[in-house]
């Protein structure tokens, strides 16, 4: 760790990382759900 990085800055960095990883997880989840819906939609359209 760089010298002089205060405890507050370390906390801000940690919060930033947590927000980013949380957002990434959320986007992965939405992506997965949407893929399922798209698949379901395609299958419904394929039924004559």
């Amino acid at each position: 760790m760089k010298d002089g990085l205060s405890f507050v800055m370390v906390m801000i960095m940690a919060v930033n990382l947590i927000i980013w990883l949380g957002l990434a997880l959320y986007l992965f989840n939405i992506d997965r759900r949407m893929r399922k819906l798209e698949k379901k939609n395609r299958n419904q359209r394929d039924i004559p």
Binding site: L5, V10, I12, M13, N16, L17, N41
Partner: protein, 228 residues
């Protein structure tokens, strides 16, 4: 593992490294109090993404006007939504910087005033979209509005803050500034790339969502109270 998933995982790692780099590698700029200059690694990419998103919205609107392709309208809507989101984020991070360096969260600086006007212009885009019940008219009007709205973007973001006296830092925050050391510049460019990747991911999600909504259920006409 497919290519799409690998790219997303690379983005997750890249953005995490950009965040770590912003705090652990980059040196704080000398002209700014304490560690405030570190906000540049988040604020500037957010502003850049907002401009890019509004540009994509304008291009998609032009395509919709010329070719009348529904997908172009979805892209315009998705890009405008993300542009608005990133503008709000840039305003929030800018206010945090302002509170430390200028003494208060809001100072009605030309840069702050221009971003408020921009937020109102693109807020009106969504008001317009929700105000017109007829789908075709809504798409045409909002495409025309999006093109006109973008004409104000270069003026509000690049010209107005530069022709007036502003507290907003220019040279230190400018990536082309030769005064920025190589480590800081590398982190800054890394952050720009990471934010662009995040924007592409979110844009694709929103675009797919709009297509899914349109294809899965017929639009409900609020004013007529029946399915179109």
């Amino acid at each position: 593992m497919n290519r799409d998933l690998i790219l997303k995982l690379v983005l997750v790692i890249w953005m995490s490294l950009a965040i770590l780099g912003a705090f652990l590698i980059a040196e704080p700029a000398e002209r700014f109090p304490g560690e405030t200059s570190r906000i540049m690694f988040f604020h500037v990419p957010q502003a850049w993404i907002a401009t890019l998103a509004f540009f994509i919205s304008m291009i998609s609107s032009c395509i919709f006007i010329v070719k009348r392709k529904l997908k172009a309208d979805y892209m315009a809507q998705a890009a405008a939504e993300l542009g608005l989101l990133f503008s709000i984020l840039a305003t929030i991070t800018g206010s945090i910087f302002a509170s430390v360096t200028w003494g208060s969260f809001w100072n009605w600086d030309p840069r702050e005033t221009s971003i408020v006007i921009l937020l109102m212009i693109y807020g009106a885009y969504f008001a317009l979209r929700s105000a017109i019940p007829d789908s075709n008219r809504k798409r045409i009007f909002s495409a025309a509005y999006s093109i006109l709205a973008f004409l104000t973007v270069p003026f509000l973001i690049f010209i107005l803050p530069r022709i007036t006296q502003s507290l907003h830092p220019e040279d230190t925050m400018n990536p082309a500034n030769p005064g920025m050391d190589s480590k800081t510049l590398a982190v800054f460019l890394g952050s720009l790339i990471a934010y662009t990747g995040l924007f592409v991911w979110m844009l694709r999600l929103k675009y797919r969502l709009l297509i899914l909504i349109e294809s899965s259920e017929p639009a409900f006409d609020f004013f007529e109270g029946e399915q179109q």
